[in-house]
Amino acid sequence: MIIKRRINLSGILLALALAFGPALLTAQSLEEKVTIHTLKNGMTVLFAERHGAPVFSTLYGFKVGSVDEYPGITGTAHLFEHMAFKGTPRIGTKDYEKEKALMEKIAQGGREWSVELAKGEQGDAEKIARLRAELTKLEQEQKAFIVKDEIDLIYSNAGGTGLNAGTGTDQTMYIISLPANRFELFCLMESERIRNAVLREFYVERSVIQEERKQTTDAVPTRLLSELFMGAAFIAHPYKNPVVGWASDINSVTLEEAQAFKQRYYTPNNCVLAVVGDIHPESAIPFIEKYFGDIPRGEDPPPFRTVEPKQLGERRVRFEFDAEPQLMMGYHKPNFPSKEDAAANVLAYILTRGRTSRIYKDLIQDKQLAVSVSALAAFPGDRYPNLFGFNAVPRFPHTVEEVEKGILEHVERVKTEPVSERELQKVKNNLDASYIRSMSSNFGIAMTLMEYQLLFGDWKLFRTYRELIAAVTAADVMDFAKTYLTPENRTVAYLVKKAKAS
């Protein structure tokens, strides 16, 4: 799951490019358009030339997401992503030296305040109020030296669009599109941010994120269900934590913790940049070298250790809420690139994509037990073994139990009866076409290139994905279902409507 700095952009914008499979036809032409350039400090830059309108889109990501957090600092990858818009020692300030002195005091005061807040009910209310008041005073003093949201201001003046960022389980990415004559501006701005983001207005932004969590999770039944589900499906691996973080952690994470997190992961050697549009790499690379070249290489991020233990039996969880019922279920499985992941992608399509999919025809169109059922082939992330599963919305008066039973009948059928050749071919035709369609926007191309390079180390793996999908047979789909879609490997979560009070 990806959450964004800004409000309510279309979900499509940041849908993982991995959902698309490439077509051999245009895979060839994309490969011809791509230039790769690696800086001495380890940063990788990918260009794809498209000389239509005089514009370009950029997308760069760091291989760090909520999966790299630990208890107490959940939500920090996302929090830092917000902080990356607050400027640098050059941008966003009228007098950085004066600000620096104030920010040291703010860091200290904020820490004391956060420690007291973290005590929850046991916290000293009077002390909390006093510390908050002192912090507010310091924040007011700093305000005199701040140029408000200057990153936004500069890009707006330049005609930039889509300035945004997103944090997911696996990665954090930054996005801006600009007119083609602003490439140097882009290099200057982003190299400054990567080199030295200044965490101004930290405690105000923390409050924004508290509101973000309420708006996008606590008031949204589907998101609450997903949180509960993930917590049950994973018992050890940090995929169990929500990207936005737990409320208690958002309420108490400190400026220093965010800074330390940034220093550990925001290194050029942990970064991939994709530039797509009306840009010539030969004239762009000197600017890249000039601005990004001397950012010091950092230590490689610490090795990831936690492996989710094998699930030993079915897990079932439920919660009551003032909302109509929904259900979510999932099974552990291997991640990309693997034969199993490819089979999962094909199966998800056969079961629920489009009006000719098996579950749509049966449960939605004919029996009308549900209004929507979506199979997900790989969630919540791709860096580590993940889940195959379903989201489903029953139709009144049908229940989550009936819908679950209906879905499971289809899962069982796949184990005993091979999927048809026509179904397999339909999926492959559609994955090919989706890929071609994703090539019609600069941003779509940037996403594909950046993600494969960042998460799997080679942008050309987009072709591997196609090859894996093309090789999937009916027997592979059946093997996948038999091996992974078993009751003991399953987690099911229900949201049920709160019984009426009185």
């Binding site: 800004r6 409000i7 309510n8 036809l25 239509g52 309108a53 005089p54 514009v55 818009f85 050059r90 305000k143 408000k148 949201d149 936004d152 707006s156 003046n157 330049a158 005609g159 930039g160 669009t161 599109s177 007119p179 083609a180 004559n181 140097e184 200057l188 080199r195 030295n196 207005e201 105000v204 932004e205 409050s207 924004v208 994120i209 508290q210 509101e211 309420k214 708006q215 996008t216 606590d218 008031a219 009306d278 010539h280 004239s283 000197p286 070298e289 000039k290 003032d322 909302a323 109509e324 009006r355 000719t356 009308q368 209004v371 009144f396 035709n429 071609i436 369609r437 019609s440 926007s441």
Partner: protein
């Protein structure tokens, strides 16, 4: 834009200098030399009319082996009977899923999905829209099915039942999301529950719809002279003409009569509508009527909206409520246009414990715009942003086509895009002050808030007349008896 050899040399020289400096030796962006001019020719679709009166907009795009089709029929929910609200949307849905006299809906699904071709239909306020997309090799197939669907839909009973059941379930669930509830109540209070602009489909109006209504609506709107069809993609003009003439052969002309809905009247009177819901934030919609589309002050309002709410983090609402105070994750609004009049509105999900304070700040921001000129920096940034990002309207050819069609259908002048930048450039600080006075009235605004008043900083009654809306009662009245 091409970068010249000179610039590359300069870049290298700078790179050498920079390397010798400490890390903070980078420049501020304002120190960059001004960028080379952007040369840009606006791509323009061509228009032609078929013998039966269908107007066609076409633009070639041979980058990828794809074709997009976009058809607009005038007519939509504004013209449906009030006691059958929801008819336009349901007609669109069943037009697509129900198949034709010679192809069943299920057969169409099988044929199209196998070749990754899509056709979808929807009913909006003013238009019935049918879109399609295919690989170029399947263009003829796409158009054959497309034409058959819009000319000869079967509207079978089972697909009407399916569409209705799906909509009824969506209605049951619309009460689950506080943001959606506050928006729904705002539309109703702003335009009036009986107005075609403010009424909404309910279980009762959906249940009243029968097959004959779908056929009648289809007959009324789906006529060749009432269609504007766009084609973009890797097909030649000749192929488009030949294909369209073939697939639309025999489509009889009919006169389309769309009586204009009764004009809107301002109903906003400063009332606060409060609906209790156990939810952590205060879900706010406020405003009154805005302006008619394509009006004399449209460019002034575009710049004003950018400064007020539309320009992301450079806008006053976002800067003050989110960035300076941390009271919300997002806030947007502006003086919007519409066929009759759009809304002037602000919407946000706000921190409950400071809701009344936030409301005061929003009012203050509106009053400031009416009493003080904006700063030079603000108007410059807003104009620069609009002007310099103009090229992004032309990034994709199918987007160029749909923009071209929308402007034509909504009565904008043919040279609208050619003169747009100049018109924005002309806007002055005085214009913005005048527009804010003319189009915003903070005393008249209705305020719709969904949340739990016990969590607010002050009682709502301290702000003015409060009318409570009982959501549970409303929901149950709309849903009817449940088992």
């Amino acid at each position: 834009m091409k970068r010249t050899a000179t610039q590359v040399t300069t870049a290298i020289t700078f790179a050498l200098l920079i390397l010798a400096l400490p890390v903070l030796g980078q420049r501020h962006p304002s120190e960059l030399s001004s960028p080379p001019p952007l040369s840009f020719k606006m791509p323009k679709p061509v228009m032609f009319t078929l013998a039966n009166g269908v107007r066609v907009a076409y633009i070639q795009d041979s980058e990828l082996p794809l074709v997009w089709v976009l058809g607009y029929f005038r007519g939509g929910s504004l013209f449906e009977p009030g006691d059958k609200a929801g008819l336009a949307q349901i007609t669109a849905t069943v037009l697509r899923t129900g198949g034709t006299k010679i192809r069943s809906g299920d057969q169409i699904n099988e044929e199209l999905e196998f070749i990754a071709t899509t056709i979808e239909a929807m009913g909006s306020a003013e238009f019935m829209t049918v879109t399609g997309s295919a690989l170029k090799k399947d263009f003829a197939k796409l158009m054959e099915v497309y034409a058959d669907l819009i000319m000869n839909p079967a509207f079978p009973q089972d697909k009407l039942d399916l569409a209705r059941n799906q909509s009824l379930e969506a209605m049951r669930r619309q009460w689950d999301r506080p943001t959606q509830v506050s928006n729904m109540l705002f539309q109703e209070k702003l335009y009036g529950a009986d107005s075609p602009y403010g009424r909404r489909a309910t279980p009762a109006t959906l249940t009243a719809i029968v097959r004959e209504d779908l056929a009648a609506l289809h007959k009324r709107f789906f006529s060749p002279a009432n269609l504007m069809l766009g084609v973009a993609g890797d097909v030649s003009a000749d192929e488009v003409k030949a294909t369209l003439n073939r697939v639309f052969k025999g489509w009889a002309k009919a006169k389309v009569d769309l009586p204009e809905p009764a004009p809107l009247t301002e109903r906003a009177d400063g009332t606060i509508y409060y609906a209790y819901k156990d939810t952590p934030q205060a879900n706010l919609y406020l405003g009154h009527l805005g302006v008619r589309r394509n009006g004399p002050d449209q460019y002034k309002l575009e710049v004003l909206n950018n400064i007020f709410a539309g320009g992301g983090f450079t806008a006053r609402l976002m800067k003050e409520l989110r960035s300076n105070r941390g009271l919300t994750y997002g806030i947007y609004g502006g003086v919007m246009d519409g066929r009759d009049r759009g809304p002037f509105m602000v919407a946000s999900q706000l921190k409950a414990a400071q809701f009344v304070e936030a409301l005061g700040i929003i009012r203050g921001i509106i009053r400031d715009l009416q009493t003080q000129p904006v700063t030079d920096e603000e108007i410059e940034t807003a104009k620069n942003s609009i002007i310099n990002s103009f090229v992004f309207n032309f990034e994709q050819k199918n987007q160029v086509m749909s923009q071209f069609m929308t402007l034509k259908l909504q009565g904008f002048a043919d040279n609208y895009l050619d003169t747009y930048i100049d018109n924005i450039r002309k806007v002055t600080k005085q214009d913005l002050l005048d527009a804010a006075k003319k189009y915003m009235d903070p005393d008249k605004m209705i305020i719709v808030v969904v949340g739990d008043e016990k969590r607010f900083d002050k009682p709502l009654a301290s702000l003015g007349t409060v009318k409570s809306i009982d959501l549970k009662a409303l929901m149950e009245a709309e849903r009817g008896p449940q088992k």
